[in-house]
């Protein structure tokens, strides 16, 4: 058993690691790479894996659940509310029109109306996993096409609930509703109680997400044990998915709602960071399972009908979407991206078709054929997207390039501030006073909480990690300010930023001269030694109290700061030679003393002769 598991893991991961980079290199998305990997290791090519594909599929569907949670995290409730028009407009019309048309066609080629309706509902679905993953990978989630695609998928996910309820009603013989996988606790309840329980669970998710989860996460974060936070994030997703299956709701929907509720929380980035790899791997597994499940025997038996059906369905779905897009006044290029992207049949059709098969609404042969067709449409999608991007779109918008680029820019801040203690918060407040918003990262859960109460956008996380910087938009930002006082953290942050985001200009806080030297070693140009300005301001006030003129002392302080900076650079050059360093250091201090005592004691002016009439007087004598 143990070695079996290891062998399987070896096969899956090996195939993925071989195929995905290859697909990427060829300019295709990771989705196609995973699908091809699945086909290769599947029973019809290499035969490494066989019948267990179905189980893997169930496990891997959890990747879709996580994907929806992460997408929810990116969408605040207010943004979701802005999407309501596209969800109801584009989303609902896509589903209804496709369902009606497909059902009608199925009916006219000789199926009874029950089977036609079941097929219509199944084929109207598109693949959330494939489409959203591709959009995310190409940074198109925030474009017009991205928003509309997302709305369509979201509406479909909502529609799953009534579909599962309607399907049993279509069965010829009153077959018992036995859904082995999803044991619903509601079966024995009367109808009104069932409805009430469903509402109750949804309300529970809302309340938990809003009031309990943030405290829970804060509590876990305070322990300072990283893997515990990862476990908590996973627990959150698994828990919600479990609650949802209890009442036969779509777990993907449930986690999506939870994600939206947590989108405003300070733990958003940290949750994203922790769940992202799990989501990626599970989705990959899911795509491989789809690839492996394609029954190539059916292809050999009647290739024409499978190919014909696949092409027919894709064209029909694409045309329906194109027309809807046109009605909704989408720009032509965005409309194409959306329509071709959503033209496949989604993974959810596997579930509904298996279900319809169990209910004997359609025959096993027909089910097998449809399954093969669905999988083929999914494999075709990345190819379609590729053809669209490489050949159709370039022709379409040669003249409209600028518009499209502007559209796809995400609203991200140009400045990132790492560390939001007193030092960083002053920088942030000053920027904000001048109308510049910064993305703020901090790793102190208590402080994050407090600052958020005061109305700042602060995110919790370890700033030296690539993924947190990435999700904070480091790739699009201009300046990274480190206001962190811990020197080793700063060094790590610099290394990460330099390696992955060479676009960033680094402005770094240094605790003292010696930290500053190390930063100079790393060729950091913008170094800010803390305290120097404040100490000098204090010095100026002391001198004033001793009776010196304010403006003279002010100029003296500015001069002093400049000399101090210069002396630091000179000292830096000789700092490796210890003896030299000590003597040079003494020299520098002496030099500074000279400057100040000459300026203040000899003549209460500075070394220049501004407003100084002494020499003029001397010459007139």
């Amino acid at each position: 058993m143990g070695s079996d598991f290891l062998l399987q893991a070896l096969v899956y991961m090996g195939a993925a690691i071989l195929c995905v980079p290859l697909a990427k290199k060829l300019g295709m998305g990771s989705v196609l790479g995973y699908l091809v990997a699945g086909i290769l290791i599947g029973p019809f090519v290499l035969g490494f894996i066989g019948s267990e594909g179905d189980d893997i599929m169930h496990f891997a569907e959890f990747g879709v659940v996580m994907l929806l949670f992460l997408i929810g995290l990116d969408l605040t409730p207010s943004r979701l509310w802005e999407l309501r028009k596209t969800i109801l407009g584009t989303g609902m019309s896509q589903f209804l029109v496709t369902m009606i048309l497909v059902s009608t066609i199925a009916y006219f080629i000789g199926m009874n109306w029950q089977a036609s309706l079941a097929i219509g509902m199944s084929l109207a679905m598109s693949s959330t996993a494939i489409v959203l993953q591709s959009l995310k990978e190409t940074n198109q989630l925030n474009t017009v096409a991205g928003r509309n695609s997302f709305s369509v998928l979201l509406f479909q996910d909502i529609a799953v609930v009534p579909i599962l309820a309607i399907l049993p009603l279509l069965a010829f013989s009153p077959v018992e509703y036995t859904n082995g996988d999803e044991a619903s606790i509601l079966e024995w309840m009367p109808g009104w109680l069932q409805a009430l329980s469903v509402l109750g669970i949804i309300a529970a998710v809302l309340v938990l997400g809003r009031f309990v989860v943030p405290h829970f996460l804060k509590f876990v974060a305070r322990t300072g044990i990283r893997e515990l936070f990862t476990a908590a994030a996973l627990l959150l997703v698994v828990g919600i998915a479990f609650l949802m299956t209890l009442v036969s709701l779509s777990p993907a929907m449930g986690t999506f709602v939870a994600g939206v509720i947590l989108a405003n929380s300070s733990f958003r980035h940290e949750l994203e960071t922790d769940l992202e790899p799990f989501k990626g791997l599970l989705l990959g597994l899911f795509f491989m399972a789809v690839g492996a499940s394609i029954n190539f025997n059916l292809f050999v038996e009647n290739p024409m009908s499978i190919l014909g059906l696949t092409i027919g369905i894709v064209i029909l779905k694409a045309i329906i979407l194109l027309v809807i897009g046109k009605v909704m006044k989408l720009p032509a290029d965005q409309n194409l991206i959306m329509s071709l992207g959503l033209a496949q049949v989604g993974e959810f059709a596997f579930v509904t078709l298996t279900f319809t098969g169990q209910l004997r609404i359609i025959s096993p042969d027909e089910t097998g054929l449809l399954m093969a067709v669905i999988a083929t449409t999914m494999v075709a999608t990345p190819l379609l997207i590729l053809i669209n991007e490489k050949f159709i779109l370039p022709r379409l918008n040669k003249s409209k390039d600028d518009e499209r680029v502007a559209d796809s820019i995400d609203e991200k801040n140009k400045i990132i501030i790492a560390g939001f203690s007193g030092f960083g918060s002053t920088v942030g407040r000053f920027l904000r006073a001048n109308g510049v918003e910064a993305t703020i990262l901090d790793n102190d859960a208590d402080r994050v909480e407090l600052l958020r109460k005061m109305g700042f956008k602060v995110y919790f996380g370890d700033v030296t990690r690539y993924d947190l910087l990435h999700s904070a938009g480091a790739a699009d930002a201009d300046i990274l300010i480190s206001a962190i006082d811990d020197h080793p953290t700063n060094i790590k942050l610099i290394e990460t930023a330099r390696k992955h985001f060479p676009n960033l200009e680094l402005m770094i806080r240094a605790k003292n001269r010696y930290d500053a030297y190390e930063l100079m070693n790393l060729d950091i140009k913008e170094i800010y030694r803390e305290g120097i300005d404040v100490s000098l301001r204090m010095g100026v006030q002391v001198m004033k109290k001793l009776g010196y003129r304010s403006y003279t002392m002010h100029r003296s302080a500015l001069k002093f700061m400049k000399y101090d900076e210069q002396s630091m650079h000179e000292l830096y050059k000789v700092r490796h030679d210890e003896n030299k360093y000590i003597s040079a250091s003494r020299k520098q201090i002496a030099l500074q003393e000279d400057i100040l005592s000459n300026d203040t004691n000899q003549k209460p002016n500075l070394s220049d002769h501004a407003w100084d009439s002494e020499e003029l007087k001397k010459n007139t004598e």
Partner: protein
């Protein structure tokens, strides 16, 4: 080629339309150094040594500024105070600037008619610039008449473009070593000279 140093002083440059147009024209002309004083010295701590080096490296100097309260903005006055040191710029040993040409390039909100004996401001721009003229004289510099864009509160886009082009022509004229600068002294405004000689030597 003559080298030109523009000492530009505007405390709120980002809101200035006219000076933006003039400065844009001045940048990119070879041998013209545009020195933005408010950008360089926001804390008024002028680097005297650097400024003196700059003066030595140029043959023609322009005080380019808006004409606030019949004078220059405070940082330019501070510049005059601290950079033109005794025994460097003036005084018995102060001969470093001798023979260099200098003039004011200014913008005024009021029109030319306001700067007349009968006008609202009672004095002409040239009269009001006397302190700058005398500063130049004390440093043994050759003071030229001002280049002035007047009536900026009501200036039209075409007028502004004409003036900006005139500024560019003037700088190009000056930078050519073959062109005589003494003839410039005969004008009330350097703007007039450009009108009189539409085809100047390059």
């Amino acid at each position: 080629m003559r080298t030109i140093l523009i000492l530009f002083a505007h405390p709120r440059f980002e809101h200035s339309v006219v000076n933006r147009a003039l400065v844009d024209m001045a940048t990119g002309i070879p041998n013209v150094t545009l020195h933005d004083l408010y950008e360089q010295y926001p804390d008024y701590e002028i680097d005297i040594h650097l400024e003196q080096e700059l003066l030595l490296a140029h043959q023609v100097v322009i005080w380019h500024h808006p004409f606030y309260w019949y004078s220059c903005p405070p940082l330019l006055k501070q510049w005059i105070d601290v950079v033109l040191e005794y025994n460097w710029a003036y005084g018995t040993k102060g001969t470093h600037l001798s023979g260099k040409y200098i003039f004011n390039a200014i913008t005024t909100g009021g029109a030319l008619s306001a700067y007349q004996k009968e006008g609202r401001n009672h004095y002409t721009v040239n009269e009001l610039l006397a302190p700058f003229e005398q500063t130049a004289a004390l440093c043994m510099m050759e003071y030229l008449p001002p280049f002035a864009v007047q009536g900026t509160h009501r200036i039209t886009e075409t007028e502004l473009q004409d003036q900006a082009t005139a500024y560019k022509k003037l700088l190009t004229y000056i930078s050519n070593e073959k062109n005589d600068l003494e003839v410039l002294k005969e004008n009330t405004f350097l703007n007039d000279f450009l009108i009189k000689t539409p085809q100047h030597g390059q």
